[in-house]
Symmetry: C2
Amino acid sequence: MAVYTQVSAELLADFLARFGVGELVSAKGIAEGVENSNYLVETTQDRFILTLYEKRVSAGDLPYFLSLLDHLAAKGLPVPPAIKDRNGNAIHELAGRPACLIRFLPGVSLSHPTPAQALAAGKAMGAMHRAVADFDGFRENSMGIATWQPLLDRCGDSLNQIAPGLHADIAFALGDLMATWPAQLDTCAIHADLFPDNVLMLGDRVTGLIDFYFACTDLRLYDLAVMHAAWSFDATGRDYDAAVGDALIEGYTRHYPLSDEERAAFDDLAAGACIRFTLSRAWDWLNTPVDALVTRKDPLAFWRRLRVYKPALAARLESLS
Amino acid sequence: MAVYTQVSAELLADFLARFGVGELVSAKGIAEGVENSNYLVETTQDRFILTLYEKRVSAGDLPYFLSLLDHLAAKGLPVPPAIKDRNGNAIHELAGRPACLIRFLPGVSLSHPTPAQALAAGKAMGAMHRAVADFDGFRENSMGIATWQPLLDRCGDSLNQIAPGLHADIAFALGDLMATWPAQLDTCAIHADLFPDNVLMLGDRVTGLIDFYFACTDLRLYDLAVMHAAWSFDATGRDYDAAVGDALIEGYTRHYPLSDEERAAFDDLAAGACIRFTLSRAWDWLNTPVDALVTRKDPLAFWRRLRVYKPALAARLESLS
């Protein structure tokens, strides 16, 4: 959420010349996305997002991400394709970083989506999953269920600084979940992080799906579960908005009906999403200096969502009492 | 250089409705300017910069800044006027902060201006000083010479952590300067911070003068001296580019010829600029945590410039040895 790598106007003008997209008119560093540096760039022809990939995105994963963007854009999804230079290359180096020039999409990220907006976003995810049926890229989920126990171990007892008993409670919930995880469900290329931040909208219309840098091959329904957990609660995770949650699922099923087995597994997958974001936020929380100029996101905001997806379990947890 | 106050898309859409400038299409938090929060906002009609004023800008000073912008824009200078709402108000409150909607200007800030670009920028400053001849606003320079000794005292001996002997050296240089400060020269409304960051250009043309939040009433020539010190050196302050420095002065004099007295005083004023930015950067340096996600600007980068403006003095300073 900051600009980590500065790109001078002079360097940027030279960079743009590789693409034949017009002359540089304006460039503003923007605070957006995961830990990359982003510029909103205007040329005499069009507007773009220039992304320089910082440490969280591995350069080796970029071909996967970009081929997924290309695939989805070609299928008519509102996904910004990376621009290729005169030699057909989309992945570049700029200021010592891997860099891509991506088409700008209009629209705003909502803070408080309405059910009508959630319906549209759910439909967009369903359409995305339909569109990847013939996408043959593969990427392991670097934040998938296999990584949660090791991340829990790395966080260690420091978790109890966040809430009393949190370490033991996450261990318990995770053990419970791993015993019932529906690994037999369908997999496909998923976004894995489709928070409201990553959906651009104008009114009730989805104009952009962005920030695919956690995209991977994993359970299709887990993608919807992440979205459900991200969209259907207030920022503290205390208030559940069932109308928004139901609309997401309703929208999704317009493209992809859910089987009884999938409906039965949904709460487990959503609980998994809660654990995944609790752990990653807790790790960031424990490793971000208090006085750093970034907002530390409350790890408990996702933990509290367990009360909706796993009420019986949540009632037994000291950290949620 | 960060977005300190988050404004939701929903709140922003409501805010824009006060102005009659069209519907919200896009909003991106941008990393720009002094410690304010800025958004690049696009509507169905136009583009704007939304600024929310954080602690460094006093709400009481906003009427001065905005009337200066209006005055300069009305005179045809490339200065972005603040947009007035349907009731004629330019100063608003948004998300608990004073806020203004300012017209977006094209152009990029240069990192390595050429002499031709410096000539244009010098001309723009000269034109700006001509244009304020009938501007009757007054604001004390909150970073003027009267504030340097108190700021030096507040920094104290910690300055010697930055360079051995720095505290005593600044005290000595400042004493020297105060004895000869040409306070009798003309005053007017000045920008007081016209670094390359704050000049937007397209090619050799100035398309915008921005970030007037240090503007004040002070010595007219001090404005040019600040610009000269800011533009004519590499980032470390070691390499002086006389062609750029000369072009700035040459451009300025196209609108405002300098008297012999002014030419004789120029190095004193530039040395003052060096001390002012050394002190403010040193204060920020000493008070910014090392691990904060903002770039701490090297205070010595301005201190080293004394070697050009005051070579005999600089030769006597331990901190520059």
